[in-house]
C-alpha cells in the first residue's frame, strides 16, 4: 500500500465494514491490505492493471444497484460501497476459474486458484494450453524494464505473446522476469498431466474445506503461494 505523509484518505465500505483507504489506490490494493481475500491472477503490484483475468471482480453498489466490475481497475472513492464475496460474485468467479483451469490444467497456479474459487468439477473438455494470456510477462517486460521485448500479437483466438515480428530482439537481455512472473511454470504437485488425462487436481486436502464454503478473509493459505497471491508474496 502506497503511503506517505501527504497521503489523502477516503472512507469506503468494504463488505459492510467502514475502512480508510489511501486515495489513488485500487479497491483490490485496499482489500488485500485489510486482509480481505479477493483471488486474482493478472494483477501484479506495481504493474499497471490490465483487467484481463476478471477473477478479482467485486460488486459495487450505487443508487441501490449493484454492478460487477474488476477491483484491480477500480480506484477507491469516498463513500464507495464494495461487496467482495457475495453469492453472485463467488458464482461468477468460480465459473471464470473453471474456464481458466479447463484451458490450462497443467498449471499449479490455476489448479490452486480453481480450488480457492470453489471449483468442484470442470464441465468443459480440457485443452492443455501453455498460456492463458494474463499478460504478467508483457507488463513486467514493458513497465519494469522498459524493454517491450514481448507483447500481445493477434486477435481473439489467435492472440498470443510474442516477440516483435516473431524474432527475439537484441534488447531482450534474457533477464527472465517474464518467466518469474508466469503462472504456467510450475506443474501441479502430481506432475504434468498427459493429454487425455487432465483433471481438476483438488489435491490440497488441507484446503479442501475451503472448497465448499471458503472464508472471506485472507488465511494466508498455501493456495495463495501457489498462484502468486499478492498477499502471500508480500507476507
Amino acid at each position: 500500500l502506497k503511503e506517505n505523509a501527504m497521503q489523502q484518505f477516503v472512507t469506503i465500505s468494504l463488505d459492510g465494514a467502514k475502512v480508510r483507504a489511501a486515495k489513488g489506490n485500487t479497491v483490490l490494493d485496499t482489500a488485500l491490505a485489510y486482509g480481505t481475500c479477493i483471488p486474482h491472477l493478472c494483477y501484479v503490484p506495481n504493474l499497471s492493471s490490465l483487467g484481463a483475468c476478471r477473477l478479482c471482480i467485486v460488486e459495487v453498489v450505487s443508487n441501490g444497484r449493484a454492478k460487477v466490475t474488476t477491483s484491480c481497475t477500480l480506484d477507491v472513492q469516498e463513500g464507495m460501497v464494495v461487496v467482495t464475496n457475495s453469492d453472485k460474485v463467488r458464482r461468477l468467479r468460480r465459473n471464470i476459474a473453471e474456464m481458466l483451469v479447463a484451458e490450462a490444467p497443467n498449471s499449479k497456479a490455476l489448479q490452486c486458484l480453481a480450488v480457492r474459487c470453489g471449483v468442484e468439477e470442470v464441465r468443459y473438455p480440457f485443452r492443455n494450453k501453455d498460456c492463458v494470456l494474463c499478460g504478467r510477462c508483457v507488463r513486467a517486460c514493458g513497465e519494469m524494464w522498459r524493454a517491450k521485448a514481448i507483447g500481445f500479437v493477434g486477435r481473439g483466438r489467435q492472440r498470443r505473446v510474442s516477440f516483435p515480428f516473431g524474432v527475439k530482439p537484441a534488447f531482450c537481455k534474457m533477464c527472465l522476469s517474464c518467466v518469474d512472473l508466469c503462472p504456467m511454470t510450475i506443474t501441479p504437485c502430481g506432475g504434468p498431466m498427459k493429454p487425455g488425462e487432465e483433471h481438476l487436481c483438488g489435491k490440497c486436502e488441507s484446503q479442501l474445506t475451503m472448497n465448499r464454503d471458503f472464508p472471506d478473509t485472507c488465511v494466508q493459505c498455501n493456495l495463495g503461494r501457489g498462484f502468486g497471491c499478492t498477499r502471500a508474496v508480500v507476507v
Binding site: 483487467g51 483475468c53 466490475t69 461468477l92 486477435r155
Partner: protein, 622 residues
C-alpha cells in the same frame, strides 16, 4: 458553377448564399434523382446515370433538367432506383437500355412507363408514385428522406435544403448550455446501441475539467452483419453529420473532431472527405466559424475493420495508433478519453439527428416515439422478408408493423418465425412477441436490444440453434481476446452449441449454457462481451423446444443442421427426370430414366442442391 468563392464569414452570408441557390434552382424545372448508394451502385446504377446523361444531352434537356446522384433511398432490393420529379414517379430495376426511353417519354413528355414501375408483392399491382409504395408509406423518414434531395458531394445541395441553418442559429443565438438543454429536452438517446441520453453525455463532457482541449468523435465503425444504416447516412448526407458534430462541439467546448469510419465503406470515406474539404472551403470548419469566434476542425480516420473498434474505448485506442482493444470504463471517456482528454463519442445517426432538433425544436423531435425513447430510428430490414432495405420508423412502432406492413411479410411463401434485432449482440424474438414496441427499454426487457438497428427476419426454414451458432462464430472471430470471459467464454459456448447442432448435445449442457451466458454477460470487460450471450440466451428463452429437439430427438426441426438431417426422394412424386442426378456434385443420386431415383446417404453431404433442382418437390428433408 459555385456561387461562393470566399469563406462565409457570418450567418447572414450563409442565408444570402442559400437565397442565391434557391433563385438559381427555380430556373430548372424537373429533376431525375438516381440512387447512388452502395446497394444501387452494386446493381449498376452508375452505368444508368451515364446513359441518362447521354439521353438528356441528345434530347437537349441537359440544361433544364437536374440529374442528381443521391445517397441511399433505402429500398435497396429494388435497385437501381430512380425518382423523377415532377410527378414523384418511382422506377426500379432500371438497366442502361431503359435510359433512352425514360428520357424521351417520362422526362420530356411526362408519360409513365408501366414496365419500370414497382410491383407491390402483396397485391401484385403496379404502383405509380413513390409516396404510394407501402414500404415508404408506412415509414416516417425524417433522416433518410433527406437523402433523395441531396447530392452528397455537393455542399450547395445541402445548404439549399436548409443545411447549416441550425449551426448558424446556435452560433448566433444560443449559448452552449442552452444547446445542451435543448438536446436533453428532446430526449435523444444514443443510436449506436447503448441508448444513453445524448444530452446527459454532452453535459458531463462539458463539465469535465478541460486542461488541454476536448474532442468529439463520430463513430462510423458499423460492423454488424446485415446492418448499414450509418453507412447510408454518412454516404448520403455527410454534411448533416458534420453539422451535428459542429453543434455538439460548440455545446461541449471541443476544438477537434474525428470521424472514425471503416475503410470497408469506401463511398462513405470518400463522401466524408469531400464534405470536410467543402466545409473548410466554405468557412464552416476551421478558425472563427461564421464570425462567431468558435473554431473547430474534423479529421477522418479510417478503421481497419475490427468489429471491437466500434466500442468507444477500443475506438479511441485505435485513433491513438494503439491496438484496438477496450480498456475498463471505471472512468468514463467523457472525463478521460482520447489521449486522456475529455471525449464525447456519438454514433453517426445520433449526430445526424442534432440539426433537426435545433431547427425544429425539442418538442418537434419528442413528438415522435415514446416518452422514454423519442424520435425516429433507422433499421436495416433484411432476411426472409419481401421488402428488404432501410426502414425509418418512430420508436415505439410494433415489430408487427415493421415486419408485415413495411416488410410485406415472409418472402417465398414462407411463414415468419422470429426476428433478430440489434445485430450479433441482440436477441431473437418470436412471432408471438411481435406486438412488442421497438424502443430501447422494451426490447432490452424482452432479452434483445435496439442495438445499432439491424433487423433480420427469419422463417420456419431457419434453425434457431444454427442462428445462435452463427452469431457466436462471428463474435468469437471478432473478440479482441483480452479478457477471459469473452475470449474463453464465447469459445466454450460455441463449442457447446456446435455439439448440439452436430448431434452430440446433452440435456445438462443447456443449463451450463445459461450459467456461462450469465458469467460472460456480467464479467466481460467491454460491451462486446457483455452482450455476446444474447443470441444464445434469447433463443434458449423463446425456442428452447428446438434445442430439445436437437438434443433429445436428434433432429433439426428446420432441416438446417446437416448432421441431423437426411435427404430422401419421394418415390411417388419422382418422375425420374434425372435433373437431381445431374445436379448432385457428389454423385449420390442414382436411378434409371423415368423411374424413381434414390439418394445414397453414405455419399450425400446434405448440400440441398437436389431439393433446389427438383421442380416437382419430390426431394424431402427428414
Amino acid at each position: 458553377l459555385a456561387l461562393q468563392s470566399a469563406p462565409l464569414s457570418s450567418p447572414d452570408e450563409l442565408a444570402a448564399l442559400r437565397q442565391a441557390l434557391v433563385a438559381r434552382r427555380k430556373t430548372t424545372g424537373s429533376s431525375v434523382t438516381m440512387c447512388g448508394g452502395t446497394g444501387c451502385q452494386a446493381s449498376g446504377c452508375l452505368a444508368v446515370v451515364e446513359a441518362v446523361k447521354a439521353g438528356l444531352v441528345r434530347q437537349g434537356l441537359a440544361e433544364s433538367v437536374v440529374l442528381r446522384v443521391s445517397g441511399c433511398h433505402g429500398f435497396c432490393e429494388q435497385g437501381p432506383l430512380m425518382l423523377i420529379e415532377p410527378g414523384n414517379i418511382f422506377y426500379c430495376h432500371i438497366s442502361p437500355d431503359d435510359a433512352g426511353e425514360i428520357v424521351s417519354r417520362t422526362v420530356a413528355q411526362g408519360e409513365v412507363i408501366e414496365r419500370l414501375l414497382y410491383t407491390d408483392p402483396v397485391s401484385g399491382e403496379k404502383v405509380p408514385t413513390e409516396a404510394q409504395i407501402p414500404f415508404y408509406a408506412a415509414q416516417d423518414r425524417v433522416l433518410l428522406g433527406q437523402n433523395k434531395r441531396l447530392d452528397p458531394t455537393s455542399i450547395e445541395d445541402y445548404i439549399l435544403d436548409g443545411g447549416y441553418a441550425a449551426l448558424a442559429k446556435v452560433l448566433a443565438q444560443a449559448n452552449p448550455e442552452q444547446v445542451i438543454q435543448q438536446i436533453k429536452a428532446s430526449g435523444l438517446r444514443g443510436r449506436g446501441g447503448g441508448g444513453f441520453p445524448t444530452g446527459q453525455k454532452w453535459e458531463a463532457c462539458r463539465a469535465a475539467a478541460d486542461g488541454r482541449g476536448k474532442y468529439v468523435i463520430c463513430n462510423a465503425d458499423e460492423g454488424d452483419p446485415g446492418a448499414y444504416m450509418d453507412r447510408s447516412i454518412l454516404e448520403g448526407n455527410p454534411h448533416g453529420v458534420l453539422e451535428g458534430m459542429l453543434i455538439g462541439a460548440y455545446a461541449i467546448g471541443a476544438g477537434q473532431g474525428w470521424i472514425y469510419v471503416r475503410n470497408e465503406y469506401p463511398l462513405a470515406v470518400k463522401h466524408a472527405r469531400i464534405a470536410v474539404e467543402q466545409a473548410r472551403r466554405y468557412g464552416l470548419l476551421g478558425e472563427n466559424i461564421l464570425g462567431s469566434g468558435f473554431s473547430f476542425d474534423v479529421e477522418i480516420a479510417r478503421g481497419a475493420g475490427a468489429f471491437v473498434c466500434g466500442e468507444s474505448t477500443a475506438l479511441m485506442a485505435s485513433l491513438e495508433g494503439k491496438v484496438g482493444e477496450p480498456v475498463p470504463k471505471d472512468v468514463h471517456t467523457v472525463e478521460r478519453g482520447l489521449w486522456g482528454r475529455p471525449s464525447n463519442l456519438n454514433n453517426v445517426e445520433t449526430w445526424a439527428n442534432v440539426p433537426g432538433i435545433i431547427n425544429h425544436g425539442a418538442a418537434w423531435f419528442a413528438a415522435r416515439g415514446t416518452p422514454a425513447s423519442t424520435g425516429t430510428k433507422v433499421f436495416a430490414l433484411t432476411g426472409r422478408v419481401k421488402n428488404t432495405g432501410l426502414v425509418e420508423i418512430p420508436l415505439g412502432t410494433s415489430l408487427r408493423t415493421i415486419v408485415f406492413d413495411i416488410g410485406g411479410g415472409a418472402s417465398d411463401g414462407g411463414k415468419v418465425k422470429a426476428v433478430q434485432t440489434g445485430g450479433p449482440s441482440g436477441g431473437c424474438l418470436p412471432v408471438r412477441k411481435f406486438n412488442l414496441q421497438v424502443d430501447f427499454d422494451t426490447l432490452t426487457k424482452a432479452g434483445s436490444m435496439v442495438g445499432s438497428g439491424g433487423m433480420v427476419v427469419m422463417d420456419e426454414r431457419t434453425c434457431m440453434v444454427d442462428v445462435a451458432k452463427y452469431f457466436l462464430k462471428f463474435l468469437q472471430d471478432e473478440s479482441c481476446g483480452k479478457c477471459v470471459p469473452c475470449r474463453v467464454g464465447i469459445d466454450r459456448m460455441l463449442e457447446i452449441v456446435t455439439d448440439i447442432t452436430e448431434g452430440r448435445g446433452r440435456p445438462e449442457q443447456l443449463d451450463l449454457l445459461e450459467e456461462l451466458g450469465e458469467t460472460v454477460a456480467e464479467t466481460s470487460l467491454c460491451a462486446l462481451g457483455k452482450t455476446a450471450p444474447n443470441p444464445v440466451l434469447s433463443t434458449l428463452r423463446y425456442f428452447r423446444d428446438e434445442y430439445h429437439a436437437h438434443i433429445e430427438q436428434g433432429r433439426c426441426p428446420a432441416g438446417v443442421c446437416r448432421a441431423l438431417i437426411r435427404y430422401t426422394i419421394n418415390a411417388e412424386a419422382c418422375t425420374g427426370c434425372g435433373a437431381c442426378r445431374q445436379a448432385c456434385p457428389h454423385g449420390a443420386i442414382s436411378g434409371k430414366k423415368k423411374e424413381p431415383h434414390a439418394i445414397n446417404p453414405e455419399v450425400c453431404t446434405r448440400c440441398g442442391i437436389c431439393r433446389d433442382t427438383c421442380k416437382l418437390g419430390a426431394v424431402a428433408v427428414l
